[in-house]
Amino acid sequence: MTKFDKKTMTEVRALFKRYAVKVHALLPVLHLVQRENGGYIPEGWAHYVAELCQTTVNHVRGVITFYNMFRTEPPGKYHIMVCTSVPCGLCGGDKVLEHLEHRLNLAPGQTSKDGLFSLEEVQCLAACDKAPLIQINAEVHERVTYDQIDALIEEAYRKPA
């Protein structure tokens, strides 16, 4: 259903109280939409959110397309971000990305057919001393080796839920 449940609506109302006007809460509300919908903003929700935040659908769409983290397609259950920025890229980040592309048979921006993995090349994640690093959903993995990456992938295959 294109609608927040009761519990989430309570969170939304609490959010609205924290800003001068409702539309200012658009980013946190869109984060909630993604949390409730497996990490993306499905068709129809832009309308609902526009109504909720008292703004236009175009405004909502403009915001969704501006920010990297807002998606209109479902990500994999394990969304893997690889930093290839300066300095990570020059400290092994690039090779880590190549390894993952090869291992998962995915290019950055793609999601695997079984919906388990998606791969994204990202800019600096503010943890450059831990290069090379990847972030899987909320979890950062520091100074990763190919073996560690393979182990993480194996583990994901074993417990896809």
Partner: protein
């Protein structure tokens, strides 16, 4: 390792420090806040910060007390303080250290900052990708409410303060303060035309100050020990210590707290223990991707705002990136411009198109398809971005490319077509 001068990382460097509210209290936390709320007028806090010479640690190095002084009074509108925790400048990771391991230090500073500018609702803008840090920070804020250090009548002073954590959603440009304010208002993060400056028209068109996390973390020391004690540290006009994020081809990457004015050579050799694998230094970027590269011969410069400015670069967010003798500067330039191209907000043609052209031209060099006229064109396009855009991003993307070409032309020549 050479000894750090510990003001901001004093707690974090204690082996068993947990960073929760109780531990923070035990180290003397909130004594500054209590003093401010019980015995100081807001103007006195502003004066103390002015006297300390504290300059913003977000990138521009603007004097914090002076900035607070710009906040107009008697406008009838609410005033806002927004803490910038976006930390997205490549190479920078010091604010996250404070947020993750000792959040109450900068939060105490922020509460005092809010009091100083008569703000009753402060916002913290944290980057969207840092999900764990945001959860951690939200818990810290919740515990402040629970302990009566936020909300109504803090320390029985009659002062009320709300605090809201706002998560971004993945856009470097939202670190620029006016883009940040747009984003806080639920809009695309596109920088505003200045003037009006945020002090006049910021969040919700009200007087607003934006301060970096580390900047605010200095306040407890300044209030407890006095402005003079702070000024006694560092070099003239560059007071205090600062957190330097060191990364790249280095033995001990990490955050180091040093007095302003320690030289780059000392930072690399004595703190971060030298270039990795016994290699020679080739280049370093002193202040994040937006700052101009320095060569291995330029490392005896004191690491502070003014000395780096004099050397034709800048301290920016104090992100020192070290590159060894095997580094291909063309690759470094390519990665830098790819970053800026990805992150341009697209409002200004020189920035949007310039970063795109440069990316493609430097890509051609990477494919060994360069030539002399092309190298001149790279320089010309980069030059065309400087001073022609709405926000400093255009300069930040263009200037470093020009300096890469000027200082390391040989690297580019290695990629000329045969």
């Amino acid at each position: 390792m050479a000894k750090e001068k510990l003001l901001l990382l004093k707690n974090i460097r204690e082996a068993n420090y947990k960073g929760d509210l109780d531990s923070y209290r035990k180290t003397g936390g909130f004594t500054a806040l209590e003093k401010v709320l019980s015995a100081m007028k807001p103007e006195e806090v502003v004066e103390a910060v002015k006297d300390s010479g504290l300059r913003g640690r977000g990138g521009a190095g603007f004097p914090t007390g002076v900035k607070w002084g710009f906040m107009p009074k008697g406008t009838g509108k609410p005033a806002y303080l927004v803490c910038n925790a976006d930390e997205a400048e490549p190479g920078t990771f010091k604010d996250h250290l404070l947020i993750n391991e000792d959040p109450f230090l900068f939060l105490e500073g922020m509460i005092m900052g809010c009091y100083a500018i008569a703000c009753h609702h402060g916002y913290i803008y944290i980057r969207g990708e840092s999900i764990k840090s945001a959860e951690h920070l939200q818990r810290a804020i919740d515990s402040l409410y629970k302990e009566g250090l936020l909300g109504k009548n803090i320390f029985n002073s009659g002062y009320d303060l709300e605090m809201t954590l706002h998560r971004g959603a993945g856009a470097y440009i939202c670190g620029e303060e006016t883009a940040l304010l747009e984003s806080l208002e639920g809009k695309r993060g596109q920088p505003r035309v200045k003037p009006p400056f945020p002090a006049v028209s910021g969040y919700n068109a009200c007087p607003t100050t934006v301060n970096n996390v580390e900047t605010l973390a200095n306040l407890p020391f300044i209030i407890n020990e006095g402005a003079e004690a702070f000024k006694a540290l560092g070099t003239p006009n560059n007071s205090g210590t600062h957190l330097v994020s060191i990364s790249g081809h280095i033995n001990q990457p990490g955050v180091y707290e040093v007095e302003m004015g320690v030289t780059i050579r000392e930072l690399i050799d004595d703190y971060a223990e030298g270039v990795r694998d016994g290699k020679k230094l080739k280049a370093l970027i002193p202040g994040g991707a937006s700052s101009n590269v320095l060569t291995a011969d330029e490392i005896d410069i004191p690491y502070d705002f003014d000395s780096l400015m004099k050397a034709g670069t800048m301290m920016g967010s104090a992100a020192l990136m070290v590159f060894d003798e095997d580094t291909d500067i063309v690759e470094l330039a390519y990665r830098t411009i790819r970053f800026f191209n990805h992150e341009s907000c697209g409002q200004c043609t020189p920035c949007r198109e310039g970063t795109n052209w440069l990316k493609h031209m430097i890509r051609d060099f990477m494919d060994d398809n360069g030539n002399g006229p092309m190298l001149e064109r790279v320089d010309r396009v980069a030059e065309g971005m400087i001073g022609t855009t709405l926000c400093p991003f255009g300069d930040a993307a263009g200037a470093p490319i020009r300096i890469f070409v000027a200082k390391y032309a040989a690297d580019f020549r290695n990629h000329f077509a045969q």
